[in-house]
């Protein structure tokens, strides 16, 4: 019964997933870009850590793992809009989506799930191999991605990573819904990209933010995308504290899904005007 109810979403998810796995050239290009970015970030951090006299809030090894994880999982983060949906909304083909006997939000969420997993798998695995095996082999052992300090930390990270995916897809779907308002889809998306990359800790880990900013940034949903799970990985947040991280992620996921549903039900009344 439940299986039959979920059947459409499962079908869309698996079709999109299989399709996206075919984009190997894009994955390869992304891989090199991210290795380059990772190395640049590490050079900057190393310079900072060498020249500082204060006691840093994060160990350099922790920052290194944090940076590599961020690069490996970039494709999982909600920083851009689905180009295919954008084209559908522009051309009015989205009308067909409304002619299907399924819930539109769930459909778009299923699309987001496929889109945030398939390319990530293609990139994250070679990226992790390079960051854990290749870097030490070429004499850059200090810059390697270290494994989590304990099994507990690894398990806790796995749990937070699942929630990162769910939270990221809620935000991705929200970005996609915003396309219904701005036909070109650029304004809101650029704004969100900036918010996501900065406030998630992608560019600077949140413990390195000024003290006054930390409580605010940590309360926002974006911290649950990168900063909290990555610090669980490195052991900066002890496994015992993982429940509060999961709570942060789940509460925000639920809130953003509800908001997205509300927004979509309003946005849909507008979109059909296009291409009458």
């Amino acid at each position: 019964m439940i299986g039959n109810r979920l059947r459409p979403y499962r079908a869309i998810l698996s079709a999109r997933f299989r399709m996206l796995l075919q984009y190997r050239a894009a994955a390869l290009a992304g891989l090199w870009t991210q290795i380059f970015f990772g190395l640049v970030l590490l050079m900057i951090y190393e310079a900072f850590y060498r020249s500082t006299t204060a006691n840093p809030p994060m160990l350099f090894a922790e920052v290194v793992s944090y940076v590599w994880l961020g690069q490996a999982l970039l494709a999982m983060l909600p920083w851009n809009a689905d180009a295919e949906l954008r084209a559908m909304i522009r051309s009015g083909t989205v009308a067909y989506e409304l002619c299907r006997p399924i819930d539109l939000y769930s459909l778009w969420y299923a699309r987001a799930l496929a889109w945030r997993t398939a390319p990530t798998i293609l990139r994250a695995i070679p990226m992790c191999v390079i960051a854990t095996v290749v870097l030490p082999a070429v004499g850059l052992g200090e810059w390697r991605l270290a494994s989590p300090p304990s099994t507990a930390a690894a398990l806790a990270f796995a749990a937070t990573l699942v929630c990162t995916l769910l939270l990221g897809c809620a935000l991705t779907t929200l970005i996609n819904i915003s396309l219904l308002w701005t036909i070109s889809g650029d304004g809101a998306v650029i704004l969100l990209t900036t918010l996501v990359t900065f406030l998630s800790g992608m560019i600077v880990p949140i413990p390195l933010f000024p003290d006054w900013a930390q409580p605010i940034v940590l309360a926002l949903p974006f911290a649950g995308l990168i900063d909290l799970p990555f610090r669980v990985f490195t052991g900066h947040i002890p496994p015992a504290a993982v429940l509060s991280v999961l709570q942060h992620q789940i509460v925000w996921t639920v809130a953003l899904v509800l908001f997205g549903r509300w927004l979509l039900s309003h946005g849909i009344r507008r979109v059909v005007v296009q291409g009458g």
């Binding site: 039959n4 079908a11 079709a15 009015g92 083909t93 002619c99 006997p101």
Partner: protein
């Protein structure tokens, strides 16, 4: 018991405008002008199961708006609409499971997937049980001759092939009602005929109700038993093709091939609507002069090679109907009532 009931449907759109040019763009940032467009201005009709109706009108007349409302995509501003006992936009999900839709200018197939995989996705989306899916697919493949296309990715199909696949895709879940929005647009003659024949059989043999919007008058003449003409959001005419003809004009045309090219016909009861070389086309009112009498008169005074009598083409009829709708609003109100 009607299958589709539409009563006094009203829908307005707000269209934002800005003056052209650089200065217009700058002003548009601060101040947006809006214009309201009355897409539907009190549309009423009822359809029974198994009807095949043509819904025609010029661009912007409200055809697509009506279809989208009936499909549950649009929420109207006023009026009543029931399809199979449901209000489409209130019970959208239950409603769309019972209808099929083809928008001729767009495809519902997945661009990168082979046709079969698109069909299988639709099977899952509509939750069609496998045995029923196989039966429906095999029948559609046979009727629309899709066998060679099944393994081809959609982006490699020609427009005519794609349209046949799109029509099949809309019918895999065996809907009771099929909406076809310009299904023959851009198709070559052979593909048009294939789509037309199929739609006719679908309606005759399976009793599927079909609502066809089109600009192609040949579609209408070949398929529709009933024609609703719409203009400026109002219904201008609703009835069979002959009723439509009678309402607009009783005029008939007599085409004559004269033996001598420079000859001319002058008759008090007929007007020459065009002359190309020796071929003259005369329009006449059969109530003033019977075709037999007119032919007799013409043959008596002229040497002719051939002649035939015909009805004006439906394009002409519809064009005249549109022309009339621009006249005083009272005329429109009368027609509407």
């Amino acid at each position: 018991m009607h299958q589709i009931i539409v009563e006094n449907l009203v829908k307005t759109f707000r269209v934002s405008e800005r003056p052209s040019g650089l200065w217009g763009a700058v002003r548009g940032v601060v101040h947006r002008r809006h214009r309201t467009v009355q897409a539907l201005d009190g549309i009423s009709f009822a359809l029974d199961a198994g009807e095949l109706i043509g819904y025609i009108g010029p661009n912007g007349a409200g055809k697509s708006t009506t279809v989208k409302t009936l499909a549950g995509i649009l929420v109207p501003d006023g009026g009543r609409c029931e399809v199979l006992g449901r209000v489409p936009w209130r019970e959208r999900i239950a409603h769309v499971a019972d209808i099929g839709v083809v928008f001729g200018q767009r495809t519902q197939l997945w661009w990168d997937l082979p046709v079969t995989e698109s069909f299988e996705l639709l099977r899952d989306i509509y939750r069609v049980p496998q045995p029923r899916y196989v039966a429906a697919r095999d029948e559609l493949v046979a009727l629309l001759d899709l066998g060679p296309l099944l393994d081809v990715p959609v982006r490699q199909l020609s427009l005519g092939q794609r349209m046949r696949c799109d029509v099949a895709a809309a019918l895999l879940h065996a809907p009771a009602i099929l909406f076809l929005d310009e299904p023959t647009i851009g198709l070559d003659a052979v593909s048009k005929l294939a789509v037309r024949d199929f739609v006719k059989r679908l309606n005759r043999e399976r009793g599927v109700t079909v609502i066809l919007t089109t600009h192609d008058m040949d579609d209408i003449e070949a398929l529709c038993t009933r024609i609703i003409v719409i203009g400026d959001g109002r219904i201008l005419s609703d009835g069979t093709l002959s009723e439509l003809r009678n309402r607009v004009t009783r005029e008939r045309w007599l085409t004559v091939d004269l033996a001598q090219v420079d000859d001319a016909i002058d008759d008090p009861d007929a007007t020459v609507i065009r002359q190309e070389g020796g071929r003259v086309c005369l329009a006449f009112d059969p109530q003033r002069v019977s075709s037999a009498e007119l032919i007799q008169r013409v043959t008596r005074t002229h040497a002719i090679r051939d002649l035939f009598v015909e009805n004006p083409p439906i394009e002409t009829i519809v064009a005249r109907l549109y022309g009339r709708s621009v006249l005083p609003p009272t005329a429109g109100a009368e027609q509407h009532a």
